[in-house]
Structures are given as C-alpha cells and as structure tokens.
Amino acid sequence: MPILPRLPQRVLAGRGGCISARRLVEYHLFERLGRTILLNVETMLFYEATLLVRELVEQLATEAEVDPIYAMGRRYPRAEVEQALAYLEREGFLRSPDEADHRPAPPLRKRRGIRHLELMVTHGCNMGCRYCYGAYGEAGWSDAPHLYGSQSKGMSLETALRGVDFLFRESGTNRDLSLIFFGGEPLLELNLIRRIVPYVRQREAETGKTVSLSLSTNGTLLSEKVVEFLVANRIGCQVSIDGGKEVQDRNRPLRGGMASYDRMLPGVQRLIEARPGRVRARATVAHDEVQVVEIVEHLLGLGFGSVHAEPAVGGPEGMAVSESDVRAIMCQNEKLAGNLVESVRADRRLDYANLVRFVRQTRVVRERLAYYCGAARTYLALSQDGAFYPCHRFVGMDDYRMGDLENGLDLRLQDRILALTVDARATCKDCWARYFCGGGCWKHAVDNSGGLERPEEEVSCRIIRHTIECAMAINTELRLIDAEVLGDGTDPAAVDRYGRARPEVKAGA
C-alpha cells in the first residue's frame, strides 16, 4: 500500500476553464481485499474509488501546483477527470484555501455518572497463565493483597455491597448499569457473588434502574450448578481461552503446571449449551502464538458466539507480541476478513469480534470517539481494599488510584483523561483512524511510555488501523445490510430471555 500524505494539501483544480485554488481535506486512501477505498476523515464517510480517483487524489496530494485536469488529461478524458473532481468536491474532499480547517472534535463527554463497576472479588486464581500481567512481583504478594495470585481471602461482603451502593448512587440519571465480577478467577468467590446478586436485584427494584451482571472466567469451575446459577441470574459470561488444546495447555496451565484444556472443556460446553450463541471467548495472542485464524475457527467450532483475540502487550518478558508477530497478526486478520465476507455470503456466522465491531462501527457511524473506552469516566474498578481504579488493569498502581469508598471518588485522574481526547493527544491527532479508534487502551499507553499521553503505537495502533481498514473493505465488499453482521446473530425465537434454548427448538435441534 502506498504511503500517502494525510494532511491537507494545497491544490489547483480546473472548473469550467477557470482555475480556482482547492486543497484536499484530511483523507486516507488505501487498498484492502482488492478494493480501493477513500475515507474522508472529517465526515467519517468512506467510498470505493475508481483508479481515476485514486490517481487524482495522489496527484492533488503530491503536485499541488499542477492543474489536475492538465496532469490527468494525458491518460483520461477531460470530462471524466472533471466529473471525478466534481464528486470529490461534492463529497467534501476539496476545500478553498480561505476556508478554515474543520476539525470536528468529538463532543467532550463530561462525567454524567458511573455506569459500569468492576468488583475485584478476588485476586486469587487457580491458573498460572504464562503472560498474566498480574503475576509481577509474586514475591511481594503478602505486602500487596490487591495483586493477582495473592492468597488473600477475597473481597469482603461489606466492601462489595458498598460498591453496589456506590454504583447506584453515582450513576446519576443513567438507568442501565452494569456490574462486572472480575478477578483473579471470580468463580472462586461464588459464595460472595451469590450474596451480591440478590442485593443488586433489591436495589434495582428500589431505584427502577437495571443492572446487567457479567463476569470473566477461565472456565475451569463451570460445574452444572454454577452454570445454572449464572443462567438463572442472567449473569453474562466471557471465557478466557487461547484456542486449541496445545496452545491452551502451553500458555494457560493450571497452577502446578498441569494442562487446563481438557479440564475446562466440559464446563465450557455446558455453558454454551445453556446459552447457545451468547458466550464470548477471549483469546490472548502471545509471542510466536499468532495463528489467529486457527484460534478463531477452533473457538467458534466449540460453539462460542463470538471470539475476541487480544495481543499480549506488556506482561512478562518474552510473551508480548513483537514486530514480526504484528505483521503475522495483520496477515491473519486479512485472511479472516476474507473468510468473514465468504461466510456472510453463504449465510454463515463468523463473529470474529475484533473485525465485526469495526464492521458495524464503520458501516453506520453513530459517534466520533474521543476516547477508547470509558475507563475513569463511566467505568471504574473497585479493589478488595475498597479503592477505585480506572479499570481492572490499573488495580494496585498507586499513581492511578482514584480515591476509595471511605473518602469518596478522587476525580483528578478523570479530569486528566477528559482532557486527553484524540484531538489533544500528540500521536492521535494526526492519525486518520482516531475517530473510529478513540486512542487505544490507556493501560497499554502506560505500559509503553509510562504515561497516558502516548498510545502504544508499535502493536496496538498498527493492528487497530489495519483492522479498521479490513472492516471498511468488508463493508465495501458486502454493501448490503446483513443481519449476520449487524445483529447479535441469535435467533430471538430460538432462545428465551436468559439465552437458553427454548425446549421445542432444542428438541428440533
């Protein structure tokens, strides 16, 4: 793909024999899946471009002082070049030099209340994943009960219930809230969760608000009773699994080094059977383990509704993805993009969440993202000792502590983050993908540069930009509105409110 300038360029465009100065607005021109795509960064509209438009844009960008009709006239009829220029003008790609740059900053989203709260119910875990970012400083666990793998007893019921009260109190006018049980392995604290859930339902009835409950589990403790509890209480589940047996056993062994795949599989299948198409898998892609196509196909084959693959960034040395891994991941993503197109055309479902998210987001653009996620604004994590952090990844980092239950929320970090919109961050403000991306994970930025200002460019930015390009190319290929891509993929008639298969459907299946 040619490297093209992104910044506005001064050009001359012929208009009915009269030359008037025109310059290109911020754009991104690329080829993906055999399609030439032109994105207007300001309007966030993207177009499939002909070869003429491609050459015309390159001409306008590189030889600003040359009349494009004259320059292009050697290869194309004048009428076609004029028509292409007219299209570019109409779609807002050209602007007169006097016209000020229109950088449509996303609206600053002041905190209107907390909507999501992660309860770190335990930092204990029955697994010993090789890349676990919580495994740092194992020797110091006794002094730091907030760290992963520590043998502390877990969150107290009092802290958890105070956290729930905090969520309801601080949610403001928000009616739809979410509470996430996180760990460690949260199901190690099932008893605590069992006591929290009725209290949440009670508070829902009192306030008229609704709370969606969810947890992220390693899948080893999904007994029949646990699955029943999760389904009956509408607790959504994301299962962390890295793919097939070989890679799972190597990267995610149990404590003591034993294989985990065979041990977790029955429980995972039980959960999937109870919630067909609704269980999401999260796979961590570690260094030299970047067979994303294989991983996604294996996990979807197990019955997971969607698969999200996340490269290991930071964490123990030797596990984080490298430069060569990034290239391999992009290659695999592109292959999955092709597979996704084929699947949609064949009425099959292939929910590779990394791609599908951006397919939806780029197909119907509902907002310009100012931030990657709601961490520290609408999203907080509550640690076992009652302290607030932007999300689970920051738990235990004193510089990012945001007060506690005793003394209330400290909003200084939130003010810092609010100021760091994509238009204010040095690396982001000139990136074409900024309004689709939002600036990347805050924790990755901290791991990379020690601060929030600079996003992690080597891995995260490159992969996200490439994924967005693939998503736009998929949309260009498909064109039509496809329920398989836009919807959640579940036949509403086939499942009840808890995601369970209705008896007659089950029998039919």
Binding site: L38, T43, M44, L45, F46, Y47, E48, T50, L52, V53, E80, Q83, A84, Y87, L88, R90, E91, P104, L190, N191, R194, P198, R201, Q202, A205, G208, L221, S223, K225, V226, E228, F229, A232, R234, L254, R255, G256, G257, M258, D347, T362, R363, V364, V365, R366, E367, M472, N475, T476, L480, I481, D482, A483, L486, G487, P492, A493, D496, R497, Y498
Partner: protein
C-alpha cells in the same frame, strides 16, 4: 438477504447486461457507509420504516436513534414506540404489545413468554423475575417466591434440592458451595473449610484425608485421588498424575517430581532417577541398567539397557547400534564355538 437474492435473480435474468450497463455509468466515488451525525453530508430524510434489525436511516431518524412510528422492525428501541408489531420491544411506554419479550416498566397482563416488568402479576409467562411475583405459574422464580410451583428456589431452607444457602450444614445435596460446609456428602465441594469429605471434587484450601478423585488443595496429604494431585507437599500418593515437588515413592503413572526415586511410574522426568526405575520413558541424567522403553538421559545407553531408543547421542540409531552389538556378540560366540569344535575335532583325530 431478500435484496441479495433479487439482485442475483436479476443478474441471471439479464445475463449480466444489467451489471454491465450499471458499470458503464458508474460513479467515480461510491459511498459505502452511513453517518448518523449532525454534520454528515447529503443524507436523505427517511419516513416510515421497515427495517430488518435496527433503523440505520439518516437525518430524519437520528433523534431518538431509531424508528419512531408504525415500525415493522424486529427490534425497536425508540422511546415513544406504540402499537408495534415487533418481536422484541424495549420501549418504555409499550402497552398492549404482542411481542414475545417485554421489558417495559408498566406491562400488565401481557401474553409474552418472558416478563421482567416490575409490577407483573398473574402472568402466563415461563420465566418471571419480577420483584413481587405472586401465584405465578413460572418454572423459575427468584425473589420472595411464595406459593409457587417452581422447581428451583434460592431461599428455601432444609431442602434436598441444590443448596446455595451460606449456612448450609450436613446437606445431602449434590452440590454444596456454602461457606461453612462440614461433613458433607456432596459430589462437589468448594467450601473453604471443608474437611473429611467424601466428595468427588475438592478444591478447598485445607482439605485433608479426602477420598476425592481430584484434589487441588495446597496441603493435601495421603490422598487416594485417581486423577490429579497438584498439592505442593503431596507424599505417598496413589494418584495417576503427580506434580508435587517432593514426591517420593509414588505409584503414579506420571511423575514430574524433582526428587523422584525408585518409582514405578510410566514416565519419569526427575533428575535423580537411577537404576531402579521400570518406567517407560526415562529422562533422568543418571540412567543406566534401566528397563525403560525410551531413554532420554544424556548419558549413553549401555548395552545392559533394554531401552528401544537412546537420545544420548541425539540420534535414533539405538536399535541398529544394539543389533550390531548383538550380532558382534553372536559372531564372537559362534567363532568361539567353532574354534572349540575345531579344537575338539583336532584332539579326537590326534
């Protein structure tokens, strides 16, 4: 999908002429996506909707996100939707719907399968999670359930059913996750203070003397578990797999213990394994005179070994090597035999 099938049909019907004709006049820029932002360019207003999933039309419908009136959509999230025919309705003022799922706040006497409305009464629904549900016919009921015919109830005391009550003692339930469970007879026990259980799986922290099949407890001793023992201080186990660090004299099939000696395990990865093992695979450094099938020890497998494979020389030539040795030995023996025969023959003839 219907549109795609129609286009495919049209393409077949016209033998591709339609596409070619459309291609001749193709615009140099073909817009692909839609932007629902105030400053989006050249959006056409939309009126009555017939969307399949969610209304993604432009300017006319950006306020309130989705369809506003007389929608025939599958999902409706608009705030003032009324009289919809959708299969799922999330609008707040929904009344008299015939949808399958109703989340509206003031739903009464609906015919839906699921009802989560706050003041639901006398519903015919299968699942009811309303707060003050009374006399329902539902299978599952959570809060303040009274007089229900439900099969699962979370606040029942002294039950023989699945029990999740925190203070459950001496249960005969199949699963016990209560915090203070003691002397249970359940098949799975995850309680923290579990002791002397006869459960199949035990993950309690202080488990001792269990007869469970799988034991992950940290201080497990003298277990008879059949699958795995990952306790750090496990000794004298009879388990199939032993990952304990100080495992000695085990009868397990796989042994990864560092100080394993005199084992009868099938695979031995311990460093000090010597002379007495009858394991199938031997990776110990001092391997000699073993009866193992594979010898992965760094020392060269001696002729006394009966192993089929020796990786000491980093090559798979042990069989040939040993065969050659055997042939040499047999040749020597035959030579000696024939020499003896010649000598005896010479003596007799002499």
């Amino acid at each position: 999908m219907r549109r795609r099938r129609f286009l495919s049909w049209l393409l077949r019907l016209t033998g591709g002429c339609f596409t070619v004709a459309a291609g001749i006049g193709a615009a140099p820029l073909a817009r692909i996506n839609t932007v629902l932002l105030g400053e989006a360019w050249a959006q056409e207003p939309c009126t009555e909707d017939m969307c399949a999933t969610r209304d993604a039309c432009a300017l006319g419908d950006t306020i309130g996100h989705t369809c506003e009136l007389r929608d025939i959509c599958d999902t409706d999230e608009s705030g003032d939707c009324a009289g919809d025919v959708c299969s799922s309705d999330r609008s707040e003022d929904c009344r008299g719907d015939s949808c399958q799922s109703d989340n509206s706040g003031s739903c009464n006497s609906d015919n839906c399968d699921s009802d989560s409305s706050g003041s639901c009464r006398s519903d015919q629904c299968t699942d009811d999670s309303s707060g003050d549900c009374t006399s329902d016919q539902c299978d599952t009921d959570s809060v303040d359930c009274i007089g229900d015919a439900c099969t699962t109830d979370e606040i029942c005391p002294s039950e023989v059913c699945g029990d999740d009550v925190p203070a459950c003692v001496s249960d005969s339930c199949s699963t016990d996750a209560s915090g203070s469970c003691v002397s249970d007879d359940c098949s799975a026990d995850t309680s923290g203070a579990c002791a002397s259980d006869s459960c199949t799986n035990d993950s309690s922290g202080s488990c001792r003397g269990d007869s469970c099949q799988s034991d992950d407890s940290g201080s497990c001793r003298n277990d008879a578990c059949t699958t795995q023992d990952s306790s750090v201080s496990c000794r004298s186990d009879a388990c199939d797999i032993d990952g304990a660090g100080s495992c000695v004299a085990d009868g397990c099939a796989t042994d990864g213990a560092g100080a394993c000696t005199a084992d009868r395990c099938q695979a031995d990865g311990s460093g000090d394994c010597a002379s007495q093992d009858i394991c199938v695979v031997d990776a110990s450094s001092l391997c000699g005179s073993d009866l193992c099938r594979d010898d992965r020890s760094p020392s060269e497998c001696t002729a006394k070994d009966t192993c089929a494979l020796d990786l000491a020389e980093n090559r798979h030539s042990v069989r040939r090597h040993l065969a050659r040795k055997d042939i040499d030995r047999a040749t020597k023996w035959l030579y000696g035999l024939s020499a003896t025969v010649f000598w005896l023959g010479g003596s007799w003839s002499g």
